[in-house]
């Protein structure tokens, strides 16, 4: 961990966190550790949460829905002024990638803890971002858009190379998509895709892109200061996903050797440098089975999974964000950054994996954070709290650190078993099955891994012994049942309840 920076000369002495839940807690922790004042906005639904309890000042905001309150930039700016905040940290989600809000913060004379509005805009538009990255000479997946020049479309599609994917321009939901592995059938497949697009969407225009089989999701953390210095803080692999959302993230990626790691990390730093990027960001790549990788998108904010990077580098990324926003130079070169051991983050959700990962709700009647070495628990939920349908159903992030991947996985398995959360159905048992799966242990995963292995989500049948133990615990804890048993005279009890 770097020494605590001297904040006395910083342009802000008070920070408003425009977020909720675990990320508000996470940001407040660093803000307060640095001796700054930490304020938070909150909707009435979050009145009893940890972030509100921790904050030096908490200001209630309102909205048609709880989510709408956290998206109301004008109200949040007014709250910042009311509590005398000199800066706003947006966390992730909500207003974190909203260029208009970023501009409004600056116009109000406050510091936005994040990149410039121009950088948010550039990377927020997928097509613009892709073109920018391609112009810089960085790898993007080969593609061909029919609209660019219909006369040469088939020839351009051919040069994309196989395997390739034909998609209707107007499409969505996988309809009309065709995978081509042999260029001999390309023209015929294009005609078929065109007629399908016409049938499904009334629009036969197409585009073609390189199809990555069993892709992995690998992303790189970057940091840039206001003085033009950019470093990468290594990669995170986030291939284990359900419903297109990450659920387990780790670093280092088991898919990379030293040379590939350097190449992908330096590519990310190069992209950030070419954008003059300021503050913390993440460059995401799609990574193919033969080691090829292509730019996917850049997230111009702190990521949910940033603790994985903190676990292996010892950096506090929120502290770095605050220092950068205060105008401080990074103060270290790329060589100064090293990693130690292996980090894994497991996202604990209120959801039912056996029913298609559908969200659940309920009270948190009992919560025991797992004890042990190398564990970190990031959560905004407390015992006695409630998981409602109003927000994202993520309850906590469990981050484990080990000397190597094997030890990290063993710690994850143990910590998941030791996590007690009663009252609301969660994915904890599922995560425990996942980290024990041979393919996960071998590091052999891709973004379709959970879809290809649905048995991991299915609940195994209980053994007869477990069923009896559960029934015993339930019977002894159910008042009317236990009282009735205790009221039976000893004579009957001596005879027993069953007679031949």
């Amino acid at each position: 961990m770097k020494p605590i920076p001297d904040t006395r000369h910083w342009p802000f002495q008070s920070v408003l966190v425009a977020n909720r839940g675990e990320i508000a807690v996470r940001v407040l922790r660093t803000v307060q550790r640095l001796g700054l004042r930490g304020c938070v906005v909150h909707h009435a639904a979050d009145r009893d949460t940890l972030a509100v309890q921790m904050a030096d000042e908490a200001i209630e905001i309102t909205g048609a829905t709880p989510v709408a309150a956290y998206l109301d930039g004008a109200q949040i700016l007014a709250a910042a002024q009311r509590c005398g905040a000199g800066a706003i940290h947006p966390g992730y989600g909500f207003l974190s990638e909203n260029a208009a809000f970023c501009n409004a913060v600056a116009a109000a004379g406050l510091v936005f803890i994040g990149p410039t509005p121009e950088q948010i805009q550039l990377m927020g538009d997928k097509v613009r971002a892709r073109n920018f990255v391609e112009r810089g000479g960085f790898p993007v997946a080969p593609s061909a858009i029919e609209d660019d020049d219909p006369a040469t479309f088939n020839a351009r599609a051919r040069s994309v190379g196989t395997p390739l994917l034909i998609k209707p321009s107007a499409g969505g939901g996988g309809k009309g998509m065709r995978i081509v592995r042999d260029l001999a059938v390309l023209d015929a497949e294009i005609e078929r895709a065109r007629s399908e697009g016409q049938r499904y969407f009334g629009d036969g225009r197409l585009y073609v892109e390189r199809y990555i089989e069993n892709p992995r999701h690998i992303e790189v953390q970057v940091l840039g200061d206001a003085h033009g210095s950019v470093v990468h803080v290594f990669e995170r692999e986030c291939s284990v996903q359900r419903r297109f959302q990450k659920i387990v993230e780790e670093s280092p990626s088991p898919a990379l050797d030293a040379a590939l790691r350097t190449r992908i990390c330096e590519t990310a730093a190069g992209i950030a440098r070419s954008a003059g990027y300021r503050n913390a960001g993440t460059v995401e790549f799609i990574f193919g089975t033969s080691g090829e990788f292509y730019f996917l998108e850049m997230n111009t904010r702190l990521q949910v999974e940033h603790p994985v990077t903190e676990a292996i580098t010892g950096l506090d990324l929120v502290q770095e964000q605050l220092r950068i926003a205060a105008g401080e130079p990074l103060g270290y070169a790329q060589d100064a950054l090293t990693t130690q051991g292996h980090g894994i983050e497991l996202r604990i959700y209120a959801e039912d994996p056996a029913r298609g990962y559908t969200p659940t709700t309920g009270p948190v009647l009992r919560l025991r954070v797992p004890p042990g070495e190398g564990l970190r628990w990031d959560s905004g939920v407390l015992e006695g709290g409630e998981v409602t349908a109003a927000f994202d159903p993520m309850i906590a992030k469990l981050i484990v650190h080990g000397a190597d991947r094997t030890q990290a996985i063993a710690r994850a398995e143990r910590a998941l078993a030791d996590t007690v959360l009663l009252g609301c159905k969660t994915n904890i048992a599922f995560l425990r099955r996942l980290v024990q799966h041979p393919a996960f242990i071998a590091g052999d995963v891709h973004t379709g891994f959970l879809d290809a292995n649905p048995q991991i989500a299915a609940e195994p049948a209980l053994t007869a012994g477990t069923q009896r133990a559960l029934l015993a615990a339930a019977a002894l804890s159910t008042r009317p049942l236990r009282d009735a048993a205790d009221a039976v005279p000893a004579l009957h009890a001596a005879i027993g309840p069953w007679s031949n």
Binding site: L365, T388, L470, A473, H492, S499
Partner: protein, 173 residues
């Protein structure tokens, strides 16, 4: 050999998809749990550190137990489980014919996106009754049988928890 229950009533718990019958009996030195598989001496005790221990069949397990109404949540051997005590009268009512098919409940928490039917409409089995949204995914809920819409409990835009009663069909009885 047939067994008959005397003196002590049978009770039922829902565990997963199944309903389990048990009886609990007080003995001189604790309790006996009877299930279809036989009888076991059982106890739950709290030690000086506040940890709870379940003893059954000569084995000791650390447990965490929480209750809420008829629900019992048990963390046992590294995993959480939920059981629900089935009240005798409710079991009796639930055994009445066809009642479950009259009500349409939410399969997951979410909000109502559209409601193409109204009270009094005749609907056919499989016809769309409503569309709900949960975590940016839309789910279509269809009529479980032919019938007439008796009541609708939510308006478009309103949100609800899992198992909330969304809509009822007129009883066939």
């Amino acid at each position: 050999m047939t067994t008959t229950l005397i003196a002590t009533r049978q009770h039922h718990f829902r565990l997963g998809e199944d309903e389990q019958a048990i009886a609990l009996v007080r003995t001189a030195d604790g309790h006996l749990l009877h299930t279809a598989d036989g009888a076991s001496a059982v106890s739950v005790e709290r030690d000086a550190q506040g940890r709870e221990w379940l003893r059954i069949d000569g084995r000791r397990h650390e447990v965490f137990i929480a209750t809420r109404g008829d629900e019992v949540f048990v963390h046992l051997d590294g995993e959480a489980h939920a059981l629900r005590y089935q009240h005798p009268l409710q079991r009796l009512a639930a055994s009445g014919a066809g009642s479950a098919e009259d009500s349409v409940r939410a399969p997951m928490p979410g909000s109502l996106v559209s409601l193409p039917v109204a009270v009094g409409d005749a609907v056919q089995r499989g016809q769309v009754l409503l569309v709900m949204e949960s975590m940016k995914m839309e789910t279509t809920i269809t009529a479980p049988r032919d019938g007439v819409v008796h009541s609708v409990h939510y308006a478009v835009g309103q949100s609800f928890d899992r198992d909330a009663l969304l809509l009822e069909l007129e009883s066939n009885a």
